[in-house]
């Protein structure tokens, strides 16, 4: 048992001799907004996917509100799988590629998991879905098919789908990276509202401006390890390590921010 809201203990993961997570530990308090940055292949997505056990680490434990999410990559029993499902439903995940379900319309995308996992009745699920779709400004698209939506709309739908499960934690894996630049804003607006509502979030991103404005903490990862962590403004303006300095320099060149 642990008093922490979310606790990652000694996570370790390799893929074909590449170390994606090298003994990563992290404590997250309720309401904290943590941004994770780092070069491609640094393990930041693996870290996020380890939290809800989508990529089970080789070693280590994840605890959410004192419940063990998982502690090894061995096969789960039926009971453990059920517990994992319930915990996963509390951790909304948003993917770079949206992963909305193309065979279901916008409303059904948000309703379906509520019926299957949260066991709500259809009327409740639909009214909840309509409320949340309104919050992400998709209320006029409820009968639309996902393939007819823009990238920004798809991502807002994916966020709505996760929010409908009443998550206590949101995991966002590069939520704006696959979007056309002019569509990034509409997704960030939705995310900012989540921050203001006190949602606990782990966000992998390259939106440094967003991170420095809204992040409580920023982690810089490289080679499967957390190299630097602290207040985003401080870390971004005064990087201590050479690796972070180089990473920020590269980002500046590619994004023409300054």
């Amino acid at each position: 048992m642990t008093s922490n809201f979310l606790e990652l203990k000694g996570l370790y993961k390799t893929f074909d001799n590449i170390t994606a997570l090298n003994n990563v530990s992290l404590n997250v308090s309720k309401g904290e907004v943590i941004f994770i940055i780092g070069p491609s292949g640094c393990g930041k997505s693996t870290l996020l996917r380890a939290v809800n056990w989508l990529t089970p680490p080789d070693k280590g434990e994840v605890w959410l509100e004192g419940n063990l999410v998982g502690s090894s990559s061995s096969k789960l029993t039926i009971k453990e799988a059920k517990l994992l499902n319930n915990l996963r439903a509390k951790m909304g995940m948003v993917f770079q590629q949206f992963n909305v379900w193309p065979h279901l319309n916008v409303l059904e995308n948000v309703v379906r998991p509520q019926l299957v996992v949260a066991k709500r009745n259809k009327a409740n699920a639909e009214s909840k879905a309509l409320k949340i779709l309104d919050e992400v400004s998709l209320h006029n698209k409820i009968d639309e098919w996902p393939d007819h939506l823009s990238g920004g709309q798809k991502q807002r739908l994916a966020i709505a789908r996760a929010l409908a499960m009443d998550p206590i934690l949101m995991l966002l894996d590069e939520p704006t990276s696959a979007l056309d630049p002019e569509l990034v804003g509409e997704v960030l607006i939705v995310l900012k509202r989540l921050v203001n509502n006190g949602m606990t979030m782990l966000i992998v991103t390259h939106e440094l401006g967003f991170a420095s404005e809204f992040g409580d903490r920023l982690l810089f990862m490289d080679g499967g390890e957390i190299i630097e962590e602290g207040s985003p403004k401080k870390i971004l303006t005064m990087p201590k390590t050479k690796r972070l300095k180089m990473f920020l320099k590269k980002l500046d060149i590619t994004s023409f921010k300054h």
Partner: protein, 224 residues
């Protein structure tokens, strides 16, 4: 030798009985195909979720056996082999089993392709929301697999429909068998078989056209 005259009245006379045969043909085809889709779906889900080498080897053996032998031999084998094991099924049941086992191999291959077109992210999104096991397949993955598989599945159904003619060899009284019965009595095979020919064609034509309908219903409205 006198030239054989084509007398269409023999065709018309045969039509009521031919239609009865066609009804049996449709029953065998629909039942066999439905069972084969159920079997193939089970195999597809089992193959992905078990990820077992033994299961995959057995499956590969089964598929190559079905693909590598004539369906007529398979039909006879089921018909004559089952009684050896004490299962005395009539030709109708034996025929359906043979058609199901044959078609399931092809449908499994079709569904494999359909499943491959479902991105891994679709599984991950469902899992991240707590959807797994039966619900994951039933609600999220299989609908997408089947939607993309509509054209080849419809094509496979026409193959099954045509293959049922071979069941006449094990005395299933379907369209082909009925035709044979009629022309062996009236000695007018050309007239009778012309009717049979048209009926088979119409059935297959309707089935192929249904592909367009199903694609419009499930694919076109979802696509960009």
């Amino acid at each position: 030798m006198n030239k054989v005259k084509f007398d269409i009245s023999y065709t018309f006379d045969a039509i009521p009985r031919l239609l009865e045969g066609a009804f049996v043909t449709l029953q065998v085809a629909i039942l066999g195909f439905t069972l084969s889709v159920l079997l193939a779906t089970t195999i597809t889900v089992a193959r992905t979720s078990l990820n077992s080498k033994i299961f995959n080897s057995i499956l590969a053996f089964y598929i190559s056996f079905i693909r590598g032998t004539p369906i007529l031999v398979q039909i006879f084998l089921v018909y004559y082999v089952l009684p050896v094991f004490g299962l005395n099924l009539g030709p109708f049941t034996a025929g359906i089993i043979a058609i199901t086992l044959n078609s399931a191999a092809f449908v499994t291959e079709i569904l494999r392709g359909g499943l491959a077109s479902v991105p891994i992210g679709q599984f991950e999104a469902a899992k991240s929301l707590g959807i797994s096991g039966y619900a994951l397949w039933r609600k999220i993955i299989l609908p997408q697999t089947f939607i993309t598989s509509i054209p080849p599945l419809v094509n496979e159904f026409t193959m099954v429909l045509k293959a049922t003619a071979l069941l006449s060899m094990i005395t299933v009284v379907e369209l082909m068998r009925v035709s044979q019965q009629i022309y062996s009595a009236n000695y007018h095979p050309v007239e009778v078989l012309s009717g049979t020919f048209v009926i088979y064609f119409l059935m297959c034509f309707v089935v192929s056209r249904s592909s367009v309908f199903l694609e419009n219903r499930f694919i076109v409205k979802r696509a960009r």
